[in-house]
Symmetry: C3
Subunit: 314 residues, 3 copies
């Protein structure tokens, strides 16, 4: 058992063994989701708080359901209706939530480092559900889980991540997880959004999509957050689609067994062609299912659960 951590703050600080422990534990919890009664009493009588200072329905629901299936009590705290609007600091909000005997605080925040900040003074466990452009560790873990489940391994695989890398916490967490587990990561997208500096993280950087996808085992397409893109750094949507979108012509140039991934929600016809998203090489919906299992595993482990063998015991 290689998990001793109280928090899950990022992928960067995890060892490969710790990542594997999460994946193994998630495998055990995935089986729970396939039972007639999708529930275990592992966190009965524990309090989990979803502190979402940046809106996110999908990730919030995935964590909420993960906590419910562990039989925890769950509270949703959305900053839009909260004291944060009255000028309370994040520190005070978190300490107030902890004073309710919270066991685990899941935080989504627009500021990079917010979860680390909370972990410095809270006794409760802190789980990062996405912090600014920094990290989104459970997304990377569910992506790694999906790849391992589909391909039987991660080491040695060629994984291409396509899109806005510079501002993507999904990309950053994926790069950490995949390189730690021995995959070869290629990053691709417009030069303004995929700077050469990422080579220092152990990735190959290219701005030619054909080159990026030709020999990939996995193609992970990031969502184009066109509602947030800075105009000075981003081509038009149409230009992006034409230069980097995954369409049938490009798909034909990939290896037949290459998997198509996407963290969702997808923009059909922008970064991905609609038929490809629904095609048999797409594992997009399996990523969603696996996300729930991974989040159950994370909540279980940060609460002191004993790895995959611990799941069998609950």
């Amino acid at each position: 058992m290689s998990w001793q951590r109280k928090h899950l703050l990022d992928i960067e600080s995890l060892t490969p063994e710790e990542i594997v422990t999460v994946l193994d534990t998630a495998r055990a919890f995935k089986a729970v989701g396939e039972r007639a009664i999708k529930k275990v009493p592992a966190l009965r009588g524990k309090t989990v708080i979803n502190l979402f200072v940046e809106p996110s329905t999908r990730t919030r629901i995935s964590f909420e359901l993960a906590a419910q299936r562990l039989t925890a009590d769950v509270i949703n705290f959305s900053a839009e209706v909260s004291s944060l609007k009255k000028g309370e600091t994040l520190k005070d909000t978190a300490r107030n939530l902890e004073a309710l005997n919270a066991d685990i605080i899941i935080i989504r925040h627009s500021a990079a480092g917010a979860p680390h900040f909370l972990a410095r003074f809270l006794r409760a466990s802190v789980v990062n559900a996405g912090d600014g452009a920094h990290e989104h560790p459970t997304q990377a873990l569910l992506d790694a889980f999906t790849i391992r489940e589909k391909k039987g391994k991660i080491a040695g695989l060629k994984v291409t991540i396509l899109g806005d890398i510079l501002y993507s916490r999904v990309a950053r967490s994926n790069i950490w997880a995949l390189t730690k587990l021995g995959a070869k990561v290629t990053l691709c997208g417009p030069p303004t959004l995929v700077p050469k500096a990422f080579e220092q993280m152990g990735c190959r950087v290219t701005h030619c999509v054909e080159e990026a996808i030709a020999d990939a085992d996995i193609i992970n397409l990031l969502r184009i957050q066109h509602e947030r893109q800075r105009k000075t750094m981003f081509p038009s949507l149409g230009e992006y689609t034409s230069l980097f979108g995954l369409n049938p012509a490009r798909l034909a140039q990939t290896r037949p067994e290459a998997l198509i991934m996407h963290p969702g929600p997808i923009n059909r016809g922008v970064e991905i062609d609609s038929d490809i998203a629904d095609g048999e090489r797409s594992v997009i919906l399996e990523q969603v299912t696996n996300g729930l299992a991974v989040r159950m595993a994370v909540l279980f482990l940060v609460n002191g659960g004993q790895g995959p063998q611990g799941v069998a015991a609950v």
Copy 2:
């Protein structure tokens, strides 16, 4: 046992026997709501998602509580804070929710046919909580339940529905349920909102309120959605009240045992006089109580529950 359906999409496609099965099952669940411990484990470990793309606090709460009393795990998904705002399609949203191993997806949507659309591709059960001006099947079932409970039968009763029929999913579902069960339905309201074409659904249509209510056993008053009415088709509120509102003078012309129903929320002094709403012939609050029992029955049945005798077994 005459329920084999995986979904509840509308009343139109149900047989009379199926409707009766829901009513009988609801009767068993109504007793649960009167116990000290208002809960049965029928859906323990099942996941129910309230997908409300059109706001509705009452119906959402009724379904949420129904699911809780069946010991299901419930997630509320409101489109206002969701990915739908980011341009995701309804289909993608629903498939993502299903990928969380959802067993039942309850959908309220402004577009007629949205539940049928989901049912075509989802493995999860779909329950229609109101789709545009099309149907609102659980409302019709709770209305039928209330009539049957109060009058001992439905066949042969004269039921008058008063108000904006043309744009009312409540009216449409009620017409289907009541005519299938043998009631005689009269529709009444302004000519622009109660066209003669409804006679093809087996109803009597009249624009004279006195005629409509004189021999009715049941008078069901629809809410005047004055915030939505199209000005070209609707008289002023005051004119509506004066021409069609149920006031003491009109009540005096009805049969003494005629029941007053309303799907709520009521507009006191508009479609209904305040004293009549609170009077002894009003069953408006019982409709709310019965709605919870009917929704428990629907969730139970679409999940494979075995009719009223199945409730005793849980």
Copy 3:
């Protein structure tokens, strides 16, 4: 056992014995919050509805979690998305919620007397979670609980409440609770906000902060609701801080064992210096923890629970 009430509407009508019963019951529930499994089945199968017609994340969460830890089913009903916007009256909303077999309705409302109004016609229990500028009884009970726990008693203690007394339901409920339990209450703040008329409630009134805090055992600082203050009655924020804010110089003039309280959320640097809020004499976060225990006690008692000895039995 001195609790026979079905509702908790205010502190004004409680006897000292009833207040003590709540505090004793809360002590038993506080121990539940320190267990590994923070949950008792006292309200299993009961339905608790949070009817918040005025927004309040903290109080809502505290009640929601209290109900969850008692194993009740909880529904949140926020008026912002509710039928109240469609013009439904509060009475109709409450009766509709009750028709769902609700056992307890917790209400927060901007109108003084709203909970009393509901209690007149509802069969469900009503708990006041704050009504206008009138009362906030659970806040006063958690404040009294905290004082008693820290000081071993309340009778004879000198308690100073500092801030906007005139518009504060927290102040009003605290004055009732503390004077009933034998404390000596001093009120202090700007003359426009702390009129002499409060002397009729048995308090000392002063507008000199030094005088108010010099011999106090407890200093309770109210939040300056600067977003709501009427300009004609309130000095500028800077002026308030300089005249009434608790800073190190003023703290030095207090008794060394005086406790600092605040109902939260705090405005650091306005009514309280940041270091004092975090200092060892501050019990602000313990108030939050105690609030949960007090709310569990209130829900338990209004539902017919048998005082502190009853908690041991569940």
